[in-house]
């Protein structure tokens, strides 16, 4: 396929909560990716950074920040901000540059340092800001996750035990991932004993915020062949589409959905339409996918994503889970990295971390977490203000 690029190297700084400068996480990830690729830093001609909005000006110009930290060498830089999809958008920018023939090899990197507790909006009386409105009325991020989870229970018969089973599954596999922040094997009893946050979700159903950094070295297929890496995993598709009006599922930070009252307008689910462009671009279907890394901001949300990716019919993801199909060794393993359950969310790094995991899996280098014979993997994530992404990687 003419629109593919090669993933030559992947690197991650382990996830944690240290409060260090985000730049050092990104540099560590970039150096690991460069070493993994066997590409000298001087050969990188495009640096594409995922922005962080919590670390001051250097975070807004992350591409330049990382290029300077690694040593100015005259590369072109780019910075992308797309909330949780920032990493994918930075990857898409690098792909465009490579496919346009303006660059042979690029570094894509994102890193973050997160504050403790809720992410609160700016103060004052600001009803024109939906983020201010929802916090004023008492609606936090877990509210939205819990609304989705409860709807699954009432519509499809999902149970609290199903949600706990997602956490148990992800913690078991994540315990084998040295880059994960939480490496304890939790039990269903542990989940049930954790504090209720937003019924039906408990503390252990909801992901934390973390520090972390992830990086990829990507190149044209010609460059990959030239350095003897013609069989490197390839980015086959990147979807970063917006929702299509009318967005019918209430999303952070909005207090209401779009109205679908106009003629010819129907209510749609953003999460559900997001992967369609990725499948179309890669020329494959859900039946071709060997593993998926999805954005489990909550345990229940992992089940939504499985259906949004068409890996199970609507309402049947819990049956897949109960059957062991989404576990390592199952028919379609989901979140064999351990997912956000074991990492916590480091926003500009997270979409890249998903692609790092697929890269190692498709190279057969995932050790105890290896999905046998993995050839095609897909990612999915979603963030604030109509951002989201789905990336397909294949051998």
């Amino acid at each position: 396929m003419s629109n593919e690029i090669a993933i030559l190297g992947a690197g991650m700084h382990p996830w944690g909560k240290w409060g260090h400068n985000f730049v050092q996480y990104g540099v560590a990830a970039a150096r690991e990716a460069l070493a993994d690729a066997g590409v000298p830093w001087q050969d990188v001609s495009f640096v594409s950074g995922g922005a962080t909005v919590r670390c001051g000006y250097p975070g807004y110009v992350a591409g330049a920040t990382f290029a300077q930290a690694l040593g100015w060498q005259g590369a072109e830089v780019n910075t992308s901000y797309a909330a949780c999809a920032s990493g994918s958008q930075a990857l898409a920018a690098a792909r465009n540059k490579i496919l346009a023939g303006e660059c042979d090899v690029a570094l894509v990197v994102g890193a973050d340092t997160t504050p403790k507790g809720f992410l609160a909006p700016a103060k004052g009386y600001r009803p024109e800001d939906p983020d201010w409105v929802r916090f004023y009325l008492g609606i936090t991020n877990p509210t939205y996750f819990a609304l989705y989870a409860r709807r699954r229970m009432d519509l499809y018969g999902d149970t609290l035990e199903d949600f706990a089973a997602v956490k148990v599954k992800n913690s078991r596999i994540g315990s084998k991932n040295p880059r994960a922040r939480y490496r304890k094997c939790f039990t269903a009893e542990d989940v049930a004993a954790s504090a209720m946050v937003a019924d039906p979700l408990r503390l252990m159903d909801i992901c934390a915020t973390s520090d972390g950094g992830a990086a990829l070295i990507v190149s044209s297929l010609d460059y990959a062949r030239k350095i003897g890496k013609g069989d490197a995993p390839r980015v086959a598709a990147i979807s970063t589409v917006t929702p299509t009006f009318a967005s019918g599922v209430v999303e952070m930070p909005d207090i209401a959905t779009d109205s679908a009252a106009a003629d010819g307008v129907e209510a749609r689910s953003f999460r559900s339409t997001l992967p369609l462009k990725a499948y179309e671009e890669a020329g494959i279907g859900p039946e071709d996918v060997d593993l998926a890394e999805v954005y489990d901001l909550s345990t229940a949300l992992e089940l939504d994503w499985i259906e949004d990716l068409r890996l199970a019919p609507r309402g049947e993801a819990a049956a897949l889970l109960r059957n062991g199909d989404t576990s390592l060794g199952g028919r379609i393993p989901v979140n064999v990295s351990g997912g956000l359950a074991c990492f916590g969310e480091a926003v500009p790094a997270q979409a890249l971390a998903q692609v790092c995991e697929l890269t190692w899996q498709l190279r057969g280098e995932a050790g105890d977490r290896q999905v046998e014979g993995a050839k095609v993997g897909i990612t999915a994530n979603q963030g604030l203000f109509g951002h989201g992404s789905s990336v397909i990687v294949r051998t």
């Binding site: 009325l137 936090t140 504090a195 209401a256 779009d258």
Partner: protein, 144 residues
């Protein structure tokens, strides 16, 4: 609560009547409803109208989903001391074909709710200031 006057927590977002309505807008060209109000540009991609009329939204709808808040949110939320958990519902308005979030009235727990249940809009205090009692829209199950 004191004898302070009642005032809307967010000015102009709902009527202050006994049977309150949310105040939205409707595009005069395509009929799309907006809440919060939108009166500058229509968000329907097939419509470029700039003509809107203010409308009262349906004050009943069906539960799309529901949850509660067991932990105190950060500011600008104003919490009682000690913090009291509250219930939240997302309610589907049939005519407007949209879902609106809001707190559920005090005394109604998640165990009292289910998807599809009919709810109506009421006003209830959100918090108190030195001068007045701020009220907001809340959802209340319709007695069957």
């Amino acid at each position: 609560m004191s004898e302070k006057p009642l005032a809307p927590a967010i000015e102009g977002w709902h009527t202050m009547t006994a049977k309150p309505h949310l105040i939205g807008t409707q595009c005069a060209a395509c009929g799309t409803y907006f809440f919060p109000k939108q009166s500058q540009y229509c968000k329907n991609p097939g419509c470029d109208s700039t003509d809107f009329r203010e409308v009262e939204l349906s004050r009943t709808g069906q539960v799309w989903s529901y949850t509660n808040a067991c932990y105190q949110p950060p500011e600008p939320f104003v919490a009682p001391d000690p913090f009291e958990p509250y219930t939240i519902a997302a309610v589907q308005l049939e005519k407007e074909e949209m879902v609106v979030l809001g707190q559920v009235v005090k005394g109604v727990d998640v165990d009292d709710l289910e998807v599809g249940m009919t709810m109506e809009l009421v006003l209830e205090p959100l918090h108190e200031t030195d001068d007045d009692i701020k009220v907001s829209w809340k959802w209340q199950p319709v007695a069957s």
